[in-house]
Assembly symmetry: C2
Amino acid sequence: MEPKSVALFGISRYPREGGFNILQHLLNYGYEGRIYPVHPEADEILGVKAYHRVADVPEDVDLAVINLPRSLVPGIARDCVEKGISAIIIATQGFADANDVKGEQLQKEIDEIISGKARVLGPNTFGTANAFINFSSSFAELKMKRMPVGLICQTGVLYVGSPDLSLLGKGIDLGNGCDLDFANALEYFEHDDDVRVIALHTEGMRDAGSFLSVAKRVAHKKPMVVLKTGRSGLAAQAAQSHTGSLVGKDEVWEAALKQCGAIRVSDIDELGDTVRILSALPLMKGRRIGVLTYTGGFAVASIDASQRFGLEIAELSPGTLEQLNAISPPWFTVANPVDIWPATILSRRPMLKVFRQALEILFSDLAVDAVLCICGIWEDAVCNKFCQYTERLAQSYPHKPLVWYIYGPLANEAKSALEETGKTGVFSSPDRAIGALAHLADYSQFLGEFQAPEGV
Amino acid sequence: MEPKSVALFGISRYPREGGFNILQHLLNYGYEGRIYPVHPEADEILGVKAYHRVADVPEDVDLAVINLPRSLVPGIARDCVEKGISAIIIATQGFADANDVKGEQLQKEIDEIISGKARVLGPNTFGTANAFINFSSSFAELKMKRMPVGLICQTGVLYVGSPDLSLLGKGIDLGNGCDLDFANALEYFEHDDDVRVIALHTEGMRDAGSFLSVAKRVAHKKPMVVLKTGRSGLAAQAAQSHTGSLVGKDEVWEAALKQCGAIRVSDIDELGDTVRILSALPLMKGRRIGVLTYTGGFAVASIDASQRFGLEIAELSPGTLEQLNAISPPWFTVANPVDIWPATILSRRPMLKVFRQALEILFSDLAVDAVLCICGIWEDAVCNKFCQYTERLAQSYPHKPLVWYIYGPLANEAKSALEETGKTGVFSSPDRAIGALAHLADYSQFLGEFQAPEGV
């Protein structure tokens, strides 16, 4: 994960733009370690000195990354072991994931070569990524960000990410997992101080028992968000064919994950949402949320969503209601969700001032465990103000999460700016915001963070 | 909906940037009708001649938009009726949506004034929007697009849209619905040739019976996507307070909507997805989908999603499998979802050529009713090619929908470009793509489009 030097096998001598060239990517990322391309015929690739054999490299090497046709892999693995390289990433496909005897044989050969001398990640893997040292062994160019998130997966595509899934602080793609497996990866992140949230994608495991026993321990230290695919029989079969792993019954997984305190999600949207909220926000003290909105329509939708995801719409304390009624027109009765439309535009009062007031009032209510703001944004200035409020509230109420659903023409810009503060999460609908908060509440409860309500 | 001239009440004499000024917006949109600001003291606003009273306007007026404090509304409504204006939008809040007797009284006054002489939209409404004539009566500046989508809602916020919900071709916000209601709006879009898909948001209706009888008829002509919020008791109460409408039991709604052939969705993300797929794509002939992917991980996820949403992973015909196996390495067995990774990078063959081949093979299979492509995009050139393939396939297979899940650094750009072709939909996850396809399949089945499989 933290290689100071890396040997690359299978780099084209004539790399072109967009040519999936690891060396090119490492130079682009600004990887600061030493790079040794190994190529039987080249003396130099992209300005970097190349070696014909790894044995020719004059210094010690931490990591080897192999991207060669499968029949060449065992030989190269042997060279690496002889050179004293103790960590090998085999990106090549066609081993346990293949349908033929040759794949199995080659896999066995590799197992024998490395046994006790080196650890192998893969085959059939993107390898590792580490934004903190600008390193990735993937042939696909990655967008990495120094997020406190460690991703463990079985399929590199999660590395690549959809626009909403830019969460790659560190990543381990296990691929076939011939040697290093889920339990190893999880233990690694358990002790990695850069990682505060662990995201995990699995289709099934050979040794689910040892994974679960590690998971049980880790869940008490760091939240683990798990996307377990391969629910159905057909899906299980497909999983088998592409990584050669065994999948268990879905109900068994459901129960086991729940028991060890992992947070199970059902798709990548939910994975992204959940990881974002857990990495940016404090734990909740209960399930009661306050909602601030400019539109009664989303107030109703928020109530629906709270029911759907198992949160409660907080019953505001009398003092809070009094203060909110004081800024609303007399014909309007305030309740949670708090519709501040009547208090602003309709009363011809300055929008931002009222918004800030209402937000402070909601935060100060002890009956509110988290706040969801639903707002449209039309002006950059408003967006900047929202960022300021977010930072100030995070300081004043360090144990009360604030999340947003932003609509309107500047919604995307506002999302980036607000999340850049590192103090909040912005979601694509009130439903997704509340779904994410529900996971945060579940994990908070698991850790015993829930408080008895006042007076109980 | 198609006003050639509009009188505006309640425009500030001193409009400022971001000041929620309808006149300013209409000028920005490029509305081509005549605009008559009415203001007791101003002779001109933003360079447009203003009138002290509506009676002073020298020409006929199609529509009045009233944005004044509630106590002034009945008087102005009377002026409008006397001027012969037959359509009035009352944006003002505080009538049936208020908690006081005054609100009720004012509402009653308005009812009497307009009775038989004019139709009223609102109160408490954004009014109407029509991208085809660059018109909107909303004080919030809207992004409109000439999409074949008519939106009927009870809360203007759906107009404003999240980034994912840019679907406003035409819109009707009913607000309190004191006069014009859901049935009227639905009938309007039934006969509007610009509108091919109807999106509808409701929290409840006073006259659900007449709505449902119209809906039953309309569903056979145009798909209706319905977001019904206010599921729980608390949500129903909130809905009552902000638009003064009654909500019925959720199970009753569920059954009634299903019976009349409406497509019910559960949140705004799903509303946007469903409207986009219905407006861009042909109906399906069955539930069997083909999936093309570069990653086994999403193959597994797609199978899970198909099960979850009630679609089938197509069993490919022998000829198709033969062709696909011919382009894959010998150790790999092709199945649906079709993982073309081994056939491309791994076999060192040109990625785009293989992709196009595989796509054509999948489309030509009679056992496949729709295709989902799961792809990463790193290069603009690839994105352009994908657009070309999309257009060509839509031409060759006009009855087989193609949808995408795109990841990677250029995902957002690719989404825009692909959807710009008007021939496909791009979704934020395989799950959402398959969920949208399932709605398309349901509607196709409702219309009797499903074909008996070959040989049955």
